[in-house]
């Protein structure tokens, strides 16, 4: 056996020590995870989505649990761009993690302003574009689900940004490969697949006079097969484009499945809410698998899964016809 495999990955200009990140909105503001996980051992953290001005966020209830995942809606609660840059960003950086800033908005101008403010900040390793905001100008539910808008926003951010830019594509759309192609042509370094799809949760508690309705987004284990399909399809069509899998990754095995399907890296979100160290244990799970397979790096797993017939592994042999 050779030396322990290296987990480092290069996502088109950003080199991460492991391919496991903490997904947007699950990494706190620089204080919460202290003592629960060593952020230097996490590939990167994606910040909560930041908007130009402060958002107080939506009213409660904001979360409803289901066996398949959680339905949540925070209304993008965040302090706004300037307080974020002068406070939260610096605190997060002190924790030792590489930081990908998630930026969100409703208009092109907002995205441009945020990219401009983040330009040249040494703490920012990359930008992830949140595209699940409402598109009020065109009266559409989700900004990023339409190629014209996607092209416009990603194009503007990518032209201005000095760091790699990843477009987080919508969890519910007609043509994920088409959107990924649009994002890359517009200048995105890569894509994050997928944003949480829209969902509705009901929560009845005995303490409240009425049933709570959470009109929000689904996260958690239910998403993994959907993530795998999106990753697989996009990786097949655009093999040179860094794809980050996000949605339903909880264990090392989940992450390995994403890598086999063609992902370059994965994000761990909801699992972090239960197990704050999930991103580290997932990375350890990848190492174990690489050792078993005798591979030197996660890139060795990438895209091993090929249509039409999956490649057989020792644990899971393809039965003889």
């Amino acid at each position: 056996m050779s030396a322990a495999p290296s987990l480092a990955v290069d996502l088109g200009g950003i080199v991460l020590p492991t391919p496991v990140m903490i997904a947007a909105g699950c990494a706190g503001t620089g204080r919460e995870l202290a003592g629960l996980v060593d952020l230097r051992r996490v590939g990167a953290i994606v910040t909560r989505t930041i908007t130009v001005t402060e958002r107080v966020g939506s009213d409660v209830p904001r979360v409803a649990e289901s066996p398949a995942g959680i339905v949540w809606e925070t209304g993008l609660q965040n302090p706004g761009l300037d307080p974020f840059v002068s406070g939260e960003l610096l605190r997060l950086a002190r924790g030792g993690a590489r930081i990908i800033v998630s930026i969100g908005g409703e208009t092109l101008e907002e995205y441009v302003r945020m990219t401009s403010a983040l330009q040249g900040r040494p703490e920012v390793a990359a930008i992830e574009i949140h595209l699940s905001g409402r598109d009020d100008e065109l009266d559409r539910a989700v900004l990023g689900a339409h190629a014209d808008r996607l092209n416009e926003i990603v194009g503007a951010v990518a032209r201005m940004s000095l760091v790699p830019v990843f477009a987080k594509l919508p969890g519910a759309c007609d043509d994920i490969v088409g959107l990924a192609r649009t994002a890359v042509r517009a200048g995105a370094t890569g894509v994050t697949l997928l944003a949480s799809p829209p969902a509705l949760g009901l929560e009845a508690t005995r303490d409240r006079p009425r049933i709570g309705i959470v009109t929000g987004w689904l996260s958690g284990p239910a998403l993994k097969p959907i993530t795998l399909r999106a990753v697989f399809d996009v990786a097949q069509a655009l093999p040179a484009v860094p794809v980050i899998a996000s949605g339903g990754v909880r264990t090392g095995e989940d992450a390995v499945e994403c890598l086999l399907a063609g992902a370059w890296a994965v994000q761990v979100g909801t699992a972090t809410l239960t197990d704050p160290a999930a991103a580290v244990t997932v990375a350890q799970g990848i190492v174990r698998r690489l050792k078993t397979a005798g591979l030197a790096s996660p890139a060795g797993l990438r895209g091993l899964l090929q249509p039409p017939e999956p490649v057989a592994t020792e644990e899971d042999p393809v039965p003889a016809p």
């Binding site: 204080r31 966020g57 009213d59 209830p61 904001r62 949540w72 005995r206």
Partner: protein, 291 residues
Amino acid sequence: MKRARAEILSTRKVGAYRSITLVAPEIAERSRPGQFLAIAMPEGRSFILRRHFSIHQASRRGGWAGTLEFVVDPSSGAGTGWLAAASAHEFLDVIGPLGRAFSYPKRLTNCLLVAEGRGAASLFFLAQELVARHKRIDMILGGRALEAVFKPIDAKRLAQTVAVMTADGSLGERGGVLDALPEAAARADAEVVYAIAPPPTLKTIAAFCRAHGLPAQVAIEERMGCGFGLCNTCVVPVARKDRSGYENLRACVDGPVFDPSRILWDRWLGEPMPAPTVEPEPATPHGGDEP
């Protein structure tokens, strides 16, 4: 805040509740009244999120040093039901202590403690700490029936007076904790009020305290996602100190103890739902679908 794999030392029935004692020295020695624990649910079940329980006892010294006790209501959902059925020597994945604790008054001495149902568990921890600081405490304990009133006998050892209220009158007086509040506050000559109860009750307690100029601290029991500040879902709308609107503070890290006079209760709880206009279904003579 620590994460521990903690062994269950014992569990016992306390009225309608189940009290669980854990061995978790690192968490116990840091715990203060009002703080809580986040307990992971087992693998392979239909629960994803941790469940959250206020700390009932944390023993730092003596024969029980290093133990922690919390109380669950088996009827409050499947996840909690699983925990209520756990037995000694099983291990739990516990994160704690979490949240901001109650603060103790420096000068004021007469403390009125109000709790409804299981919430009383963490008030007992507070009561002990206040008594140790030579405060006078009085308590109001409520519940839907006798078995839902938490440890009324123990309360009498700590408090000067204890008012017990049950919805069905099976213990103490018939009524809710709010019915006992004016009289208890006067009798105790209360200077500060501490309360844990369902939010609508806390709202009324807050209004009472405001009307009587009483400082108060309430511990709220909002449904939490993670319990340590990541998910931003357990928020409470609180007026900003500079009076410029409000901000949504996380109950898990900015609370669960809040100054009730700053909570925007109507925004938080919503307007009460109008009374149903449909006639209730008559009870079936055969008692439902039991065979």
